[in-house]
Symmetry: C2
Subunit: 84 residues, 2 copies
């Protein structure tokens, strides 16, 4: 793997796992007040389209990263709706 | 532009502009309590690496999208640190 590819993979891992602490934080607070519904509605729609794009291109790195991100972002969205 | 490319651009636009309502929401609330510091620290690092990746590949769509996302994510991070 060349250095540029390595940077790309590190970027993908960081922007994907970043949502884990937000899920934990919102779950522990039992409150979604600080979370923007508009952000997570827009973001999950966008990640859903990235997933469709990956499927259409048969690009597994895009598919895998976006399935994980979609699961995490939907979890934040669900917690926001559940706890307001 | 073919339909797959169109889906990719729509995905990029949505996942980029998604942070605008979060910036507005956190700014209006004058509170960053609901925001995970871990998420925004990790996410801005990842977006910084995506930007480096775009620069190394001289890929303008990656550069433009990530400069905008980095600006917005850093704004949320700054509001989180400012208002706690």
């Amino acid at each position: 793997m060349n250095p540029t590819e390595l940077i790309g993979y590190a970027a993908a891992v960081l922007t994907t796992i970043a949502f884990v602490p937000q899920v934990v934080h919102t779950w522990r607070m039992r409150s979604g007040r600080g979370i923007s519904l508009g952000m997570y509605a827009t973001f999950t729609s966008g990640v859903g389209l990235w997933l469709a794009y990956g499927i259409l291109l048969n690009a597994w790195p895009i598919i895998v990263a976006n399935v994980i991100t979609l699961t995490l972002a939907l979890s934040v969205l669900a917690l926001k709706i559940r706890y307001r």
